[in-house]
Homo-oligomer: 637 residues x 3
């Protein structure tokens, strides 16, 4: 695995560049990402390009032996561009234009802005498409960051109407699909349809689902326009986009199909603080991050990369110290930056790039650590980078192999649950993460895959939930022989966000003969104990001739099995997930480990990696030694 | 008591109607409400009516022996209507137009929309006014739902100015009434007055109170326009409107005077989850609802019905299973749907209608249970409906009789307290509900009545609070001989939201010689213990020559008595309410029961009903048996 | 110290004025503030003044021997004025115009409104400038109340651009200062710059800081326009403005330099409820207020008054009973109004004026107590005012003398921390207040001073934090010989909100040889114990050749000392503050007391005051007696 960093030559005096490049190489870095926010320097006046500085920056970095990832600057259109087409900004859900003064102030649906993006990407690719030091292009930056996938602008409304027309053909078909007869919501023409915001009470969930699909498609087509230009003008170079953490606003599988290498931006401490983890977890993993946060995304984005590319992926931005954007921003425990780096290698990353080379002393991210401090002294992470580089050189390439467990992840499922949670605590991401964590806690490697992935060869398949089952998916599950677990709400909606004709689990019924007759959600604090696990958050009543495999204390079925298929009719707590993993592994003949708290194991083709995410030393019998806090152990397999 | 259901023939293939009707009748239902959201089907294009389907639906239902409640569709104007007069939508308090895409997207003050409503109601009444199967009309649906009473549109501002002109005559009179000299808020003309929103800090409470009165009057006049048309074109048929739970945004007593039968929509589990109940209560009554939620509204809306109609009322929508709109949506405990039905009978309902016949598989309410599931199989409630129908047939009509206790309820009081809480925890609805609950916990039946109700014949009268005492009310209390309790803040405001000249309790002073010299509100967690009760939330300092009946630990008066009148100078906690109920009952010679937790008793002319709202079996000595969870016991009186 | 009250003759029948004046004098009051909200009575129609009533009110008050503070009415422009220039209202951060109907509905940057203010102030000063009863003018009322310093109007945007032009000269200089190359935020002209609101994510902190500086300057220049008129037309009369509590939205030191007497509005119970105090503190001091709330502001605003005026200050509004604006509004403990009055005297106030004479029975503040009730009977505070007046007469004038401890307070520091907290719990006001409280708890008197104050003569100087160190400040600290404590984040930013070149503490490095190499913020609940204190909220890693004076449990430096300078590298908890106060006092040879909980001591030139803020009697060995709840003890020094 290669190492790299994110660098902004435009932020520093030109006289510093050569020494920066030299030190990068000396630290063990071989990649450098540049350019992705530099529009105002590339084109300081409309139509007047200034290539000189960028030519020299690229030349200087290349001269030090660094390979370059060049970003397109479309996440930060300059003020003159916004002033020329003020309606290019997104409109937020409250109806307000989103102003200039930070970044991502554009609407994905605005044709004028798209033309400007094509122009600047063409100009960049024209100039650098065949530069030998450039090995990869990054399109834009973190699509969707700061809640920017959805826009409610006139451009978005117009785009949505076209999208609906293409999908439904006639407005009558749309009315039927959405059930618009309900509350007299029927339209007489596509031009009558608005985005689903600012309605008096909730809009039709089918309306929302199509708006989310449309918005996701807009991101994909926006990206594809850049990809098409780059493919044409910079043939043979890789293309990537840097995805984010715990983020489901657009379908990353779709965007991933258009690029060569899926990358993501890994900030374990910020994610721990900002997401659903309990206070106890936030305290226990304060300076390390929960042991599954980074791994979950490694395995997710490996699965978002185009099949043809061989599931190529990497970490484009790796947290090297405290960040600036969470409510609280602790410093990583000594050793964690190296540990995070090696965890990426253990999951098959092509590279890990630290964000950023040197901490900026100005503007919004001045409190975001880098590998260097603003005064160019080395920050705490620098030594860990060198240590990681040495280990990586020692162990050589670590391509990922197929894992024993597949976890099926669906962006559409996240939207469906989010649009209609039915119980405020039913979170799609949390459910999938808990299933992932249950597998990892027993020492299993996991592939997180799209519903349209090939599931052959797995020892077990988990579908935490899949409300809308895509065409062909049920048949694919039926054709498997390994144990398959499907979670609550699977098959509970049609493609048009309706309850299926024979009730849930809909098209999954041929796989497991049961019917969900009623569902209930349970408020926080309601816990109904069964043997060895508890019913919380969600419970389904099931009618079936099957004898349940597990029941609650009142004798109601909780888990049903039929052939190789299981259906879980409640929100599975950790104890139940553990039990189910044990049963499936037993059936599949997959050996399990019982890892101590904070310990995780991951295997590549050649090596076994063990990591200690705890802040204390931990005796790990599986590796036969005490792992220090932030400690690791790597052994040939 | 009759049973019925809410049905949407326009949601289902015509071929299903006859079988649906047959099954309704077979289940014991004799009423069916239809039509209230069907504008887009009745008038699919502007001015082009399609009566055929509705003619046939009515005929089909009637053929099965069902009687029909026909709703006017004015809660759901179609998109073409909104597009023709875009300013018909309400403007929310933040100044944003409330969009199309759900329901209730209209401003009560918009004259153009009112004309459209008169047109569609006239057309409906013209066609069906004398149809023999139609026994009742429902105007619109749930006025005010989704926070729609208040609008801040140009139409509302104009209407408000006219309303003020009519009320005050001159702007000088308005300035004096409101005290506009304060902060130079004086107006020179009615045209200078705006709605009281988006002010820099709170607007004048007198301004708010008049805006709330105006908005309430707009609801009443909007309703009256429909009533007038229906009276003219459908003489002899009953008219109703379906009110909601824990909802005080308009004066239901006023609207109730214009209709024949007050109905309401009863969702005990959703109300428990969404309102102020403690976590302990929400857990204890998770699947039953608090024992007083439904009863409170039964007794409230019985009192909202026009006197001349003999206090006719019913339940238009009865929760039959999990709903979709609360944060968490549990399923009713088995037996509760029958229990809720019989509780309505015990309070004198003419009918209970379940919402809805069949769960819709599409649109916003697809997760709202019905009597049938979307696949037409019977849902859990169906058996309970049949059981309740059998009991109802057995016991016969159960008209309500005058209760021993009267509880005075004022919508204006709710507005006054809400506009100026003075302590964040002083909730009008909670105070009244707690007083009601204290009476019911001791086995007393209660009439919840308007301040202008006749109070003769009651054994005790409770006025939890009445900041603005209407003309004649004090004299009416004075003329009583039974014990009367008036709560804190009673008489503390004039009709113009000012402190009365001689201080609180203002016009009540002749009844009880005391003066409130100072008030204080106490933050959550502050509890000052007296003997057998506690001072929390609110305390008044009282100057009086009376010796207090009860004092706090520091010897300050808490309850004062003078003749048959008592005044309580603090927020009464449950212990104090219990004590006061005991004293008044003792004085009135009314026997009390000491009901176990979860047990409630209610009497009609002929029967005594006992209900167990607990999730456990409870030994109820008052009925001489153990009541099962959700169990009931009905005996001749 | 004189006593006074706030009075609104326009609220009461003219026939009541003389008796009111007589009773004021009889109660011991000699000052009365009037007029500050009376624009609609002074100018009921545009251009038509009505002076008669105000002439007579002034004459009547003067006839009773009262001296008058006359307010300019610019906080409450009448409706006719707003209707004539609707764009004079401020635009809030959400982009909404702030409406008429309360007060402060103006934008400080609107030139048209400024002209109107000059006109009305000129008219007032023309008429009353030389009236012998008028001893003081108050400009406007509570600048910034209800979040009104910041406006995002077109007028504000235009003013901001001019301000930037004046500050930076060229837009290139602005781009460099702000670091606008980051995210392509560079401008080509000042006209391209907008206010920093409604950006997609946070705006540049340098952008925000300059917007706050600009907005603060607008308040100062708005005030200065009135001051200039009053100086010209009412020579020799004092000018004041009434500041608020816990309020830092504009630089009060700057405004204070333009007036003669700094006054503030003291509401200890409301402030306790509304600010960061713990539940335990809110309960313990429910009816007394935290013992340092009023004292903190007395010492702060004494330091805001112009040096040339001899630090003249007073309390313009003193809470006399329950207020109406906090979430909960308890009544003061008996004795507290007198105690608060004497505490003001102990800090050197020229006068304390109660808000208000008589409780208004109408409009927004009808639940705000006065010295009289609405019915003109005496409220609880009246006796306490008389008692305080007697004590004050007895002890004579009590000018403040220089305190042993100086606490450096910077409004710019409050803005900088607020713009970029980096940890959600890092509050500037709380940090300064805790340092103040630590000094007071050990019996020390404190001067709270501006960074540009003369620090000579103090026995110790505390700088809780000062991210941006003003020109000359470091040299001033260096020149001292007394112990100096500088807190975390001091020197961490340049004047342009950048990290200084050699890292924090920047320009303070010559004073204490250390470098802050990394900072971390810690979430609520994270507590890392050291010996005798704890690390919470904030920790800095320090590189230094100094041996730390105090370390944490892991041996990392927490406090460093070098000569007379100390640097504290963590958020200091109460235990650490206590320890540091002890060390500095020891070094300075200043004796400390160990005051019981709730007891505070304050010295003037001639007397020592002791106060008991506890709700219980407390044995105070320092005064040799038990102080009753709300009790005090005053002895010659």
């Amino acid at each position: 695995m290669k190492l790299g960093c994110c660098y902004y030559p435009e932020h520093w005096p030109e006289a510093m560049w050569a020494e920066d490049a030299r030190r990068m190489a000396a630290m063990g870095l071989s990649l450098v990402r540049i350019g992705e926010f530099a529009w105002s320097r590339i084109e300081p006046q409309p139509g007047h390009y200034d290539w000189g500085w960028l030519d020299r920056a690229i030349a200087t970095l290349a001269a030090a032996g660094l390979k370059i990832i060049l970003g397109t600057p479309t996440a930060t259109p300059p003020k003159w561009l916004v002033d020329r087409m003020p309606d290019m900004v997104a409109i937020d859900e409250q109806g307000r234009p989103r102003g200039f003064g930070s970044r991502r102030h554009y609407c994905f649906s605005h044709e004028g802005y798209r033309a400007e993006c094509r122009r600047i990407v063409t100009a960049l690719a024209d100039r650098y498409g065949d530069h030998p030091a450039i090995v990869m292009w990054q399109t834009d930056n973190e699509y969707g960051c700061h809640d920017t996938v959805l826009s409610f602008s006139a451009a978005a409304a117009a785009g949505f109407r076209d999208w609906l027309q293409a999908r439904y053909g006639t407005v009558a078909a749309l009315n039927t699909a959405w059930g618009n007869v309900f509350w007299s919501m029927e339209y007489r023409a596509f031009t009558e349809v608005d985005p689903p915001h600012l309605t008096v009470t909730e809009a039709n969930p089918a309306h929302w689902l199509d708006y989310r699909r449309f918005a996701s498609d807009q991101v994909a087509s926006f990206n594809r326009e850049q990809v098409d230009i780059l493919r044409r003008l910079s043939p043979g170079k890789d293309i990537t986009h840097n995805f984010m953490g715990f983020f489901t606003e657009f379908d990353h599988h779709t965007v991933g199909r258009d690029i060569d290498v899926a990358t993501w931006d890994s900030y374990p401490l910020g994610f721990l603080e900002q997401f659903w983890f309990s206070d106890a977890e936030k305290h226990a993993y304060l300076r390390q991050g929960h042991p599954d946060i980074a791994a979950f995304h490694h395995d997710l984005y490996r699965g978002c990369s185009a099949k043809e590319s061989g599931a190529r992926w990497g970490v484009m931005e790796q947290q090297p110290g405290p960040v600036n954007w969470a409510r609280f921003n602790p410093a990583p425990l000594t050793g964690m930056v190296a540990l995070w780096t090696l965890e990426a290698a253990a999951h098959g990353a092509e590279f890990t790039s630290y964000f950023r080379w040197r901490q900026a002393p100005f503007a919004q991210e001045q409190m975001h650590a880098g590998l260097l401090r603003p005064d160019s002294s080395e920050a705490e992470a620098a030594d860990e980078v060198r240590a990681a580089a040495a280990v990586l050189a020692d162990i050589g390439p670590q391509p990922a192999t197929q894992a024993p467990a597949a976890l099926v992840f669906s962006y559409e499922a996240a939207w469906a649950i989010g649009i209609q949670p039915q119980g405020a605590s039913f979170s799609y991401l949390e459910l999938v993460f808990e299933a992932y964590s249950a597998l990892r806690a027993r020492g299993l490697d996991v592939d997180i895959v799209s519903p349209d992935a090939d599931l052959a060869g797995y020892a077990m398949v988990l579908v935490p939930t899949l409300p809308i089952v895509p065409e062909g998916f049920a048949a694919k599950l039926a054709a498997l022989t390994c144990p398959v677990l499907t979670g609550p709400r699977s098959g509970s909606k049609t493609d048009s966000f309706c309850i299926p004709e024979g009730l849930a689990p809909g098209v999954l019924k041929p796989l497991i003969p049961l019917t969900v007759t009623r569902v209930e959600s349970l408020r926080d604090g309601v816990t109904e104990t069964a043997e060895g696990f508890a019913v919380t958050r969600w419970r389904e009543d099931v009618a079936s001739e099957l004898v349940p495999e597990l029941t609650d204390a009142a004798g109601r079925g909780v888990v049903y099995a039929h052939g190789h298929i299981r259906y879980c009719a409640i929100w599975p707590d950790r104890a139940l997930l553990r039990l189910l993993v044990e049963r499936m592994a037993g059936e599949a003949g997959v050996p399990l480990l019982d890892l101590p708290e904070g310990i995780r194991i991951r295997r590549t083709a050649s090596h076994v990696f063990a990591f200690n995410y705890s802040a204390e030393p931990v005796w790990a019998p599986q590796v036969g030694e005490v792992l220090a806090p932030a400690g690791w152990h790597i052994a040939p397999r």
